[in-house]
């Protein structure tokens, strides 16, 4: 199979996955009890008013018809209106999505280089002091609930020292400096939620490469250690590391939801939690679709990158 064929196959599989995810989101939010009409009306639900609302929302159509309509609307950017206050979800989402993307992007910018460096450093001398410290710390960090580090950071830097705001609300007209001040704590908290996994997986990916026959050959040849790591091991470990990074960035999805709620950050994650709390179905559907697409997309990227990084696949005739 040629490279293009493999890639095309993976992309088609990705598209199918997206389709499956959308069906699951739709069915999960629409079929399970909690009728939307009842949800809107609450206590005031009389049979007539329920029938009227059902008519207006098109709830009397068969399920597959509603799914197609819903998906077409979603793909054309029509997310509907909130059940709670009738506000247009599209405007709200575009504002909050930008905030969340900024938060996630800053986190990735810090977490990725940091964790790759730490993972490499730990792999230089497996079993050595540095390795033991990094491995033990990352094992502890993996066991922390997503909110723990953030709560500790808030206690120290926002309350005890008073250097940074404890709540990350964002007002229009914030200057760059204001943004940085507001973002430091959430970004730091979020970094810790994905850092440990990335460090551990980078370490084992590099160790895996270091135990390969090619590296053994280089050691026997007498290549100096520094050159061995940078010229021989790193290029071969790059594929697995990129794969690790892409996979772990997908974990940001759940981290973002918790951290945004903790800091009252006006992003998509908190919007979704509010949506679930109020049982606002269209909001939950829209946010779930966006988060899931991001997740699936990163998983596909991880796969494709590791296919591309594998010379055996790349140079196959």
């Amino acid at each position: 199979m040629s490279l293009t064929e493999i890639l095309a196959k993976r992309l088609i599989l990705g598209l199918l996955t997206m389709l499956f995810v959308s069906v699951l989101v739709f069915v999960g939010t629409e079929i399970l009890p909690g009728d939307v009409a009842h949800a809107i009306l609450g206590q005031a639900a009389t049979p007539e008013s329920v029938a009227h609302i059902r008519e207006r929302l098109g709830l009397n159509e068969p399920l597959h018809v509603r799914y197609v309509v819903w998906l077409t609307n979603f793909l054309t950017g029509d997310f509907g209106t909130s059940l709670a206050n009738g506000a247009d979800i599209g405007t709200e989402v575009s504002r909050r999505l930008l905030n969340t993307v900024i938060l996630a992007f800053c986190t990735a910018l810090i977490a990725v280089p940091l964790s790759v460096l730490l993972g490499l450093w730990a792999a230089v001398r497996p079993g050595g002091l540095v390795d033991r410290i990094i491995t033990a710390t990352s094992l502890a960090l993996i066991s922390f609930p997503d909110f723990l580090v953030a709560v500790v950071l808030v206690t120290i830097f926002a309350v005890k020292l008073g250097w940074l705001p404890a709540i990350a609300s964002i007002r229009p007209g914030y200057s760059l400096l204001d943004w940085i001040r507001v973002l430091i704590l959430p970004v730091a908290g979020l970094t810790f939620t994905i850092l440990a996994h990335m460090v551990r997986m980078t370490r084992s990916a590099v160790l895996n490469v270091l135990s390969s026959p090619a590296i053994e050959m280089a050691i026997l040849k007498g290549v100096p250690r520094r050159r061995l790591l940078l010229r021989h091991a790193l290029p071969n470990a790059l594929g697995p590391i990129i794969n690790v990074v892409a996979l772990n960035l997908a974990y940001l999805v759940s981290g973002v939801v918790v951290i945004e709620t903790l800091f009252n950050f006006p992003g998509l994650g908190r919007y979704m939690v509010e949506g679930v709390t109020n049982r606002d179905v269209p909001i939950v559907q829209t946010c779930a679709m966006i988060f899931c697409s991001f997740y699936v997309l990163l998983n596909i990227t991880a796969d494709i990158l590791s296919i591309l990084a594998n010379p055996r696949v790349r140079y196959k005739k």
């Binding site: 206690t155 903790l262 988060f291």
Partner: protein, 287 residues
Amino acid sequence: MTDRARTWRGELREAVGDLTPGVALCLLFLIAVILVGAFAPWISPYDEAEILTNESFSSPNAEMWLGSDYLGRDVLSRLIYGVRITLFLALIITFLSFFAGVGLGFLAAAFGGRVDDWMSRLNDAMLSFPALMLALIVINSLGSSFVVLVFTIAFIDMTRVYRVARALAVNIMVMDYVEAAIVRGEGKGWIVWHEVLPNALTPLAAEFGIRFTYAILFISALSFLGLGVQPPQSDLGVMVKENMQAILYGEYTTLYPAFGIALIAISMNVLVDWLLQRSSAKLPDEI
């Protein structure tokens, strides 16, 4: 029979001999936590819901060793009951997910062929869905209750357990001793029960620890978002959420349950690491 009992006891003695001080400490801590959870009504100094003072977030004192929470309830008592609920939910979830996940995983491996193909493909599709999103969607539709939480998280966990159990079983099914059993004319059920299960036990035990930790962290996260355990009942995650303001008063009330979750999870992970290293068993591709 006696022979088997002796080896079993011998193995246990050997395992205890292998304990490093750190691992032993974690094991003791876990046992202590489980005892605290089991005997919460007898251990806790006060009732978890009793309002003892009208002072919010009072500092630790002789009557209330960890101070009071936002409603003036005893933090220590609530912590003890919180541990009880968290452990109870996590245990049920993990047992359920193991029962279903290992059962289905072994089934797929035993039958192979098209059955395996379809089950695994369906499972992979489920894995492409972020766990938290799935939980939020179900809670949005059904509301949050113990039953919904337990079954939702157990289902999510099951997809992970299935993957591991199936991969383990597939590797064992190609062993010579399994072939010998097939030639001998043993049925599929016999082979799974007498050959596959005993040989997969150590890695499955490690996986159990990992899933248990994951369940604790997952419930805590949901409770922290206000979508897990609902007041007046409370687990450790709810306690973190409801006492967040304490930080502003300079009290550490919210940190106790948060660190409680972390300590339980760390101990479990250390134990799992030790178990895997000791048997040099490997879990197939964790996700």
